[in-house]
C-alpha cells in the first residue's frame, strides 16, 4: 500500500472533474483481517468470525465487516490526497463481501468548489468485488492547497 501520489492527480489543475487515481487491488479478504479489524475497533459482532453464529443469521459463512473496507477505502484516499486535508469522508454499504473476495478500490474526482478562501475537491471511491458486485461506495471532500 502507499506510493500512489507520484502518478495520481494531486494539484488543483490536475484534479479536474473526471480525473482518476490508479486503482488498488487488495489482497483476498481473510477472517484474520476481520478479527484484526474487530480487535482494533472493539466491534466484536460474531457474525464476522463465528461460522455457527453466521449460519444462524442465514449466511453460509462469516461475512466481511463493512467498516474494514471503509477503513481501507480511507487508506486508499489518504495515500492519494493526504489525511490532514480531508474534511468529509463517508461510505454507503451495498453488497455483502466474503472471505476470499478480492476488493478493488478506484477513485475519481466528481466535483470542484471554490468557497471564499478555499479550494475543495469532491471525490468518489468505488470498492468493487472482483467476482462482481459493489461492496461499498465512498465519498470525500478534500481541501487542495497547491
Amino acid at each position: 500500500m502507499g506510493g500512489l501520489a507520484g502518478r495520481n492527480p494531486v494539484t488543483w489543475d490536475q484534479l479536474q472533474v473526471g480525473a482518476v487515481a490508479a486503482p488498488r487491488v487488495d489482497e483476498p479478504l481473510t477472517i484474520t483481517d476481520f478479527v484484526r479489524y474487530q480487535g482494533a475497533s472493539g466491534d466484536m459482532n460474531p457474525i464476522h468470525h463465528d461460522p455457527a453464529f453466521a449460519r444462524k443469521a442465514g449466511y453460509d459463512q462469516p461475512i466481511a465487516i463493512g467498516m474494514l473496507a471503509a477503513g481501507r477505502a480511507a487508506t486508499y484516499l489518504t495515500d492519494w490526497l493526504g489525511p490532514q486535508d480531508i474534511r468529509v469522508f463517508g461510505v454507503r454499504f451495498m453488497e455483502v463481501a466474503w472471505p476470499g473476495d478480492v476488493l478493488v478500490y478506484a477513485g475519481k474526482v466528481t466535483g470542484r468548489r471554490e468557497p471564499p478562501g478555499e479550494r475543495l475537491v469532491d471525490v468518489e471511491i468505488a470498492c468493487a468485488r472482483q467476482a462482481g458486485g459493489q461492496h461499498l461506495t465512498a465519498w470525500a471532500t478534500v481541501v487542495v492547497h497547491s
Partner: protein, 132 residues
C-alpha cells in the same frame, strides 16, 4: 475520551495503512474512520442507543465523518455527545419492515470546539439479514 497513540497505530495497521502520518511520532493523525472505534469503547451512560438490538438483524447502512479542521491527532481529548437525529421505516423488497436510525455523535475539544461529527445509519430487518 483521549485518542490513544497505541490504538491509533493498531487501527492504522488494521486498515492496511503504512502512511507515516498515522504511524510516526507520538501525536500521529488518527485514520479517517478511527472515531467509529470509540463507539465501542464508550461509557455505560451512552450504551442505551445501541443496546438491545439483535446483532443478527442489524446492518450498517452508511457512515459519514466530518472534520472541520482535518482528523484529530493522538493525544487529543474529546468529549462525545450522541443523539438520534432521525428514525424512519421502509418496506423491504422481500417483505418485512426495515427500521432505519441515524445516530449523530459530536466530538468537541477542551474548549468546546467541534473537532468531528460522526453520522451513522443502521437498519434493523424484521428477520435475520442473511438469506434464509
Amino acid at each position: 475520551m483521549c485518542i490513544e497513540l497505541g490504538k491509533v497505530r493498531e487501527f492504522a495497521r488494521a486498515v492496511g495503512s503504512s502512511h507515516p502520518v498515522h504511524l510516526q511520532g507520538v501525536t500521529p493523525v488518527s485514520p479517517l474512520t478511527f472515531l467509529q472505534a470509540s463507539a465501542f469503547w464508550r461509557s455505560p451512560a451512552n450504551e442505551a442507543l445501541s443496546n438491545g438490538r439483535d446483532q443478527r438483524r442489524v446492518l450498517h447502512a452508511s457512515q459519514e465523518f466530518v472534520f472541520p479542521h482535518g482528523p484529530p491527532r493522538a493525544g487529543t481529548t474529546l468529549t462525545g455527545q450522541q443523539r438520534i437525529e432521525k428514525e424512519w421505516t421502509k418496506e423491504g423488497r422481500r417483505g418485512g419492515q426495515l427500521d432505519f436510525v441515524l445516530v449523530v455523535t459530536d466530538y468537541t475539544d477542551e474548549h468546546g470546539a467541534l473537532v468531528a461529527q460522526v453520522r451513522s445509519t443502521t437498519v434493523s430487518t424484521a428477520r435475520p439479514a442473511g438469506r434464509s
